[in-house]
Structure formats: structure tokens, C-alpha cells
């Protein structure tokens, strides 16, 4: 209502010049109408998930802290080798994404688009607290994830 009232304030003057306004509107409007959005051909609607991406290489890690809640006992322990490998694989697939090879495609107006292919997607991870609750942190790199989870690169591999 505030804006409508504001519009009413100069109403008489507005009406007096209305034909002139409309004439200018046609000119300016046609200019604005010429502004276009430039996009590429429509894609089909997403129907299936993309395949899990493959990281450049998977590094080996050693677990230095107890980050696994044992499903049998409920107690906190270090992950088994298999659990560690699965965790590292999962994190690597999400966080070790090369970004320098992402190709730009040119829009028809000279603009560009880049399909990120899963890169730049921060990941929320968790480690157990002493009271059994889980502390959650969102990370953007494998190094950050390793630091939070106490994973140290295995130099012997």
C-alpha cells in the first residue's frame, strides 16, 4: 500500500503526460525487449544419478584417532582397514576433484558456463565425541577432512 500511495501522489501530472510516456515506453520497451538470456539447448530432465566420479589418485592413510562407533558394542574405536579404505574412497571421490580441467562452454552471447562435475561441493563429516554424540564439520578439501578425522598419509605406501 505504501507504494501505491506513493504512486498516487503525482497522479494528475502522470495522467497529463501519459500519452508521451507511452510513446517513450514503446521505444525504450523495445530496447529492453531486445535483452536476451543466452542459454544452450535444453537438457533432458534428470532421471538418474551420474556415476560416482573417479578421483585422480587415492592416497593411503592411517587412522590416528578413534572415529568409528562399533555397531556391535556401541563403543568408539579406530576404523578397521576395510572401514578406513571405504571412508577414504568416499571422501576422495567427493573432495579430490580436479578443477583445472573443467571445460567452459561458450554461450551464444559470449558468456560462459562450466559444468562443475561434482567439484566445489563441500562435504559434511563427523567424528564421535566422548559422550557418544557426533561432532560435525563441513570441509572443502581432502586435507581438511583428514585433519578433522585424524587421518595421516601413509608414507610407507
Amino acid at each position: 500500500m505504501t507504494d501505491i500511495n506513493r504512486g498516487k501522489k503525482g497522479l494528475k501530472g502522470y495522467l497529463r503526460f501519459l500519452p508521451l510516456f507511452v510513446l517513450s515506453a514503446i521505444i525504450i520497451g523495445s530496447i529492453v525487449a531486445g535483452t536476451r538470456v543466452f542459454s544452450e539447448s535444453p537438457k533432458s530432465l534428470i532421471a538418474a544419478p551420474e556415476p560416482m566420479p573417479t578421483p585422480q589418485k587415492t592416497r593411503k592413510y592411517i587412522a590416528t584417532r578413534e572415529i568409528t562407533v562399533d555397531k556391535q558394542t556401541g563403543k568408539i574405536r579406530k576404523p578397521t582397514d576395510q572401514e578406513l579404505n571405504e571412508l577414504v574412497s568416499s571422501l576422495s571421490q567427493m573432495l579430490d576433484r580436479p578443477t583445472d580441467q573443467l571445460a567452459a562452454r561458450t554461450l551464444s552471447n559470449g558468456g560462459e558456463a562450466v559444468d562443475l562435475d561434482g567439484a566445489f561441493a563441500p562435504v559434511a563429516i563427523a567424528r564421535p565425541r566422548a559422550d557418544g554424540s557426533m561432532e560435525v564439520r563441513c570441509v572443502t578439501s581432502m586435507e581438511e577432512a583428514a585433519d578433522f578425522l585424524g587421518l595421516v598419509e601413509d608414507d610407507t605406501q
Binding site: F21, T35, P49
Partner: protein, 578 residues
């Protein structure tokens, strides 16, 4: 005078008309966010495992509850931001491991993408925008039918699936989704976390292109924004704890209503070579950091190399230089025994505060949070903080000339802001190449949704006075536009325009087209304004007549449509017609 500029009907985006048809009779504020389930049968969102409804989530299978929680979080964002273009989140639950909760981010970025109608397009040239934000500013779907955000969550993690945030010791899925969706909506940089390189580097453009988030990151030590920095400067800036701040007006205007005074602070005051604020960890034992805190000189603690601890710097036994430590801040190396043991020994030696710096086994680690062992903690009566190994060694290296340091809180600075009231971004000094600048600093109090730590005390609220997430998204371009006509509410002549397809007067549909005009008002808005203050029915009708004639002369309506408008105005009761 803005209203004298009109748009032709041809310039009204087709999507806007379709949107109006869908939304007839409803408020147009907000955005539609669709969660697209891409899971296969019997997995993820389709997991048939029976569960009891919980916390307002009425789903009766695990899959249903996951989907309901996803849509709930999406709707929460949809009610908070405005966009004329539906936002699509491609969503799945996959076995990602028990320590992984999930992730989300933009699928595509755009730069220099243009716009339709009154929509502004990109605010900056040569600048990347995430898909959903680019669509909003373009006023059209730049990647029709494709997802704007990809969300992948862990089917191995035991989330709380209720909608009421009553999660107890579990982790609230809705809160995590609100956080990760915010990244996908624009709370993120597209600068490489590992190299500091911009996106879009090519032989022709070795610098690449900056992104809209990076344009608001400023390094307070040199005053440079990330888009004005070299790659090396960005890399250095990403690990300047406490010095990387946000330079957007919406965030910083609301800092005072969200963040509390009392910024925790550990600061070397001399010598100048190492002076400044330090990143630190806190302890779960001993007194909390307070004002005025503790100031003093630092003394390295020495103890026997014995069974309790093999090093003379580990503080695991009674100090052999207790007399030197007394009345000063004790510096101890991490390792062998617990943090609380070291701090207790320092307390016994008469230290005024304790610093524990990482040992070589943790050389690459951030300052740890220090847990109590349940035995020694109660005997610690002085504040205890932790430092990185690099920072600890830099202090050790200056002990010969004397190191003065303060530990406490600065009562004049808000926790999570700098001394100029600008929100701090998370730029820890560790270790890692690059860091998580796409978050607020962890020292923020109250806790914010977009800190890297997704804390259990968070609400589902996304803006001040509870949070600063919406404010940042507004800074990067999610302008408030209640009627989604492309004109920001602040400059819209009617922020809640009547965008119906045709001119309707007093319930009478004239069939004449309802135009959107430069400035954000429609034909219906103007006719409504003619009614306000009309002395009588005749005045109203005469104003409508002038308006209709102008439209006719401009060729925007036909003679028949003009007659229909006049007829509807004449037959209406507006202005007091009996």
C-alpha cells in the same frame, strides 16, 4: 518518474506468465525448490524400512522420512529467498560411510549470462555465479530442465529425521541440509581450495575469472579483495586467521544484532616480529576465557625426562623450573600425557595460564580442542589454550628476547567479527593447502549455520537475529523480490504487484493484457492506485479512461480491450457507485 517507462508485452517473459497462472490467488513471494529423487528401488529415498513417525515427520518408511526432511529443508529455503525460476536439487542417499553425512553444491556456474525483462543479470562482468543464483538474476532458466544443485547424502549415517529440531544427541538432518543447500545457493567460492586458482583459466586468460563470493572476501591486512589478488596472495589470505572478513553490507549491517560481544583472543603483544592474533584451541577444563583475561610473559616449562614423559618439554611431570614459571604463562609441548595433566602441573607450578603447542607428531594439525580426562581437569585453575606447532615454535624462537602474550576475550569486539564489525570467514592457519573460506569463522557467538562446525544448538532460522546466512546470500545477489518481477523490493513501485495475466477490475476480468512496467508496477497496480483516494466513482472511471486511452494509443491494447476495461471500471463499485 520511473513509471513513465513502459515495457511492451512482448518483453514480459513467458515464464512469468506461466508462473502467474500457477500461482493465481497466492502470494508470489519465495522460490519453488524441487527435490528430485534419483535413487533406485529400495534404496535411499525409496528405502522401505518401516519407521515410526518422528518429530512432525509423518513418513512411515525410512525413505519417505528422508524425502520429507529434504523437502522440508528445501521449502524452508524456498520461503526465505525469492526466484521466479524453480530450483532443482538432484538428490540421493548413497552408502558413503558412517563418518560422512553428505554434500551439496552448485552443478554449473555461469558468467555474463544476460537477462530478460526487468531482471538485472549479473551484477559484475566476468564473474561466476552458481546456477540457481544465475537463474534468479537472469529471470530465466539458463540450463533448462537440469539440476541447479546436486545433493548426495549418506545412507550409513544415523540422522534425526524429525522436522522439529528436537534431535537430542543425534544429528539433525534438516540442519545439515539447510547448511549444504546454502552452499549450493551461493555460499561458496569457486576458487580452487588447493591452489588458489580462479575457475576458467585458459591459455587466453591465465588468471581465470573470479566468482561473486570472492568479490566480497577482503584481507584486512592489505585491504585487497580476492578478485583483486594474485594467486599467491589468495593462497596466503586463505590461512590468515582472523584477517579474512566479509565486505558485504547486508551481512555487516546485521552483525550487531546477531553476534555477541566478547571475541576470544590470543595475541602476542611483543616482540613485533611475531605479534598479532593467533589461532587457538580451547580446553574443556579450567576456567573459560574471560575479560580482562591473562597477560604476561611466556616461560617454557621444563620437567624431567622420565617414565611419565620422555621429553623435558612435555610437561608430564612436576616442573623443574617451577620458580621461573610461577607468575607467568607456561609453554608446554603436546604429547605423551593428557592435556589436563600438563595443565595441572602448570597450575601446581603457579603459572597464570597455559599454552600447549602441537608436537612433531601433530605438526600439520590445527590447534586441538582439549578434552578433560575426568581426573586432572578439576585441579586446573588457570586458562589453557592450544596452538599449532608452527606458532608454538615461533614463540619458542623468541623466548630469548622475551615474549609477551594475552589470553582472554576482547569485550569490545563481537565474537565472529573483526574490530570494524565485519564478519570473519574461516581462514585457519594449518596445514592444509587452502582452507575452508566458504564458511563463517568458528569463533562466532552465537553459533551460525554456516560455520564449518554444524553445531547442535542451531535453529532452523536463516537470518537475523538468529543467523547471517540469508544476509550473505543477499550480498551475493539474492535480492528480495516478493513478486518476482525482477525489481528488488527496495526500488519496486509495488513489491507485491498483481501479476495476473489480464486486467481485472473489481473482480471483472476484462481480458485485456496486464502489462509489467519499468519500475515494477503492472496495469492492475496502476488501476488499483487510481481507486485509492478517488473522491467518487466518476473520478476513478475517468482515471482509468485516461490510462486505457494511453495504452490504446501506444498500441498495447485493442479498441475492444479498451472498451472492456472501461466497461469493467464503469460497472465496478469503486469510488462509491451504488
Amino acid at each position: 518518474m520511473k513509471r513513465k517507462i513502459f515495457l511492451t508485452r512482448a518483453s514480459i517473459p513467458a515464464f512469468a506468465l506461466a508462473f502467474v497462472l500457477f500461482m493465481t490467488g497466492n502470494a508470489l513471494a519465495g522460490a519453488q525448490i524441487f527435490v528430485i529423487n534419483v535413487d533406485g528401488p529400495n534404496e535411499g529415498f525409496n528405502d522401505p524400512t518401516p519407521v515410526a513417525p518422528v518429530g512432525g515427520n509423518s513418513g512411515t518408511t525410512k525413505g519417505q522420512q528422508r524425502l520429507i526432511a529434504f523437502q522440508f529443508a528445501a521449502d524452508r529455503w524456498g520461503a526465505t529467498i525469492d526466484s521466479p525460476v524453480p530450483i532443482i536439487i538432484q538428490s540421493s542417499f548413497d552408502p558413503l560411510g558412517a563418518n560422512v553425512l553428505g554434500s551439496a553444491g552448485a552443478t554449473v556456474v555461469f558468467r555474463d549470462f544476460g537477462s530478460v525483462g526487468l531482471f538485472p543479470g549479473a551484477a559484475f562482468p566476468g564473474t561466476w555465479y552458481g546456477s540457481a543464483l544465475a537463474d534468479k538474476r537472469a529471470g530465466a532458466d539458463l540450463n533448462p530442465g537440469a539440476a541447479d544443485i546436486r545433493a548426495r547424502f549418506s545412507s550409513d549415517f544415523d540422522f534425526y529425521l524429525g522436522l522439529d529440531n528436537n534431535h537430542g544427541t543425534k544429528n539433525d538432518l534438516v540442519t545439515v541440509l539447510l547448511h549444504e543447500f546454502a552452499h549450493g545457493l551461493g555460499f561458496q567460492t569457486f576458487v580452487s581450495p588447493s591452489t588458489g586458482a580462479n575457475l576458467g583459466v585458459s591459455a587466453d586468460n591465465p588468471q581465470g575469472f573470479t566468482d561473486v563470493f570472492a568479490r566480497y572476501l577482503v584481507d584486512s591486512t592489505n585491504g585487497l579483495h580476492w578478485n583483486d589478488m594474485t594467486l599467491a596472495q589468495r593462497q596466503a589470505s586463505a590461512v590468515k586467521f582472523g584477517r579474512l572478513v566479509w565486505d558485504g553490507s547486508n551481512v555487516n549491517n546485521d552483525v550487531s544484532s546477531v553476534l555477541l560481544f566478547g571475541s576470544p583472543d590470543v595475541r602476542v603483544t611483543s616482540p613485533a616480529a611475531i605479534s598479532g592474533p593467533y589461532q587457538f584451541g580451547t580446553a574443556a577444563f579450567g576456567p573459560v576465557l574471560s575479560s580482562p583475561g591473562v597477560s604476561g610473559t611466556v616461560v617454557a616449562a621444563l620437567d624431567a625426562a622420565d617414565a611419565a614423559g620422555p621429553a623435558t618439554t612435555d610437561g608430564c611431570s612436576a616442573f623443574t623450573n617451577a620458580a621461573a614459571v610461577a607468575g607467568h604463562i607456561a609453554l608446554i609441548e603436546r604429547g605423551t600425557c593428557g592435556f589436563a595433566v600438563k595443565a595441572r602441573n602448570a597450575t601446581n607450578a603457579g603459572a597464570t595460564a597455559v599454552i600447549i603447542y602441537n608436537n612433531s607428531a601433530n605438526a600439520a594439525a590445527a590447534p586441538p580442542g582439549m578434552a578433560d580426562d575426568g581426573i586432572n581437569g578439576p585441579f586446573v585453575t588457570v586458562p589453557t589454550i592450544s596452538l599449532t606447532r608452527a606458532d608454538g615454535l615461533s614463540i619458542v624462537g623468541q623466548l630469548g628476547v622475551g615474549v609477551s602474550l594475552s589470553i582472554g576475550v576482547d569485550p569490545n569486539v563481537r565474537a565472529g567479527a573483526d574490530d570494524q564489525g565485519r564478519a570473519r570467514l574461516y581462514a585457519p592457519f594449518p596445514v592444509v593447502s587452502g582452507s575452508s573460506v566458504s564458511h563463517y569463522d568458528t569463533v562466532a557467538r552465537r553459533n551460525l549455520l554456516m560455520e564449518p562446525n554444524i553445531n547442535p544448538d542451531l535453529t532452523h532460522n536463516l537470518k537475523a537475529p538468529d543467523d547471517l546466512t540469508l544476509e550473505l546470500l543477499t550480498d551475493v545477489g539474492w535480492f528480495a523480490d516478493s513478486d518476482n518481477d525482477g525489481v528488488t523490493n527496495a526500488s519496486d513501485c509495488n513489491p507485491n504487484s498483481n501479476l495476473s495475466d489480464t486486467v481485472v477490475i473489481d473482480g471483472r476480468d476484462t481480458g485485456a493484457p496486464n502489462y509489467l512496467f519499468q519500475g515494477g508496477c503492472t496495469s492492475n497496480d496502476y488501476i488499483a492506485s487510481f481507486a485509492v483516494g478517488a473522491k467518487n466513482h466518476g473520478v476513478f472511471v475517468s482515471r482509468v479512461a485516461a490510462f486505457a486511452n494511453a495504452l490504446l494509443e501506444a498500441g498495447l491494447i485493442t479498441e475492444e480491450q479498451k472498451d472492456a476495461i472501461m466497461s469493467a471500471a464503469g460497472e465496478s463499485s469503486i469510488g462509491g457507485r451504488k
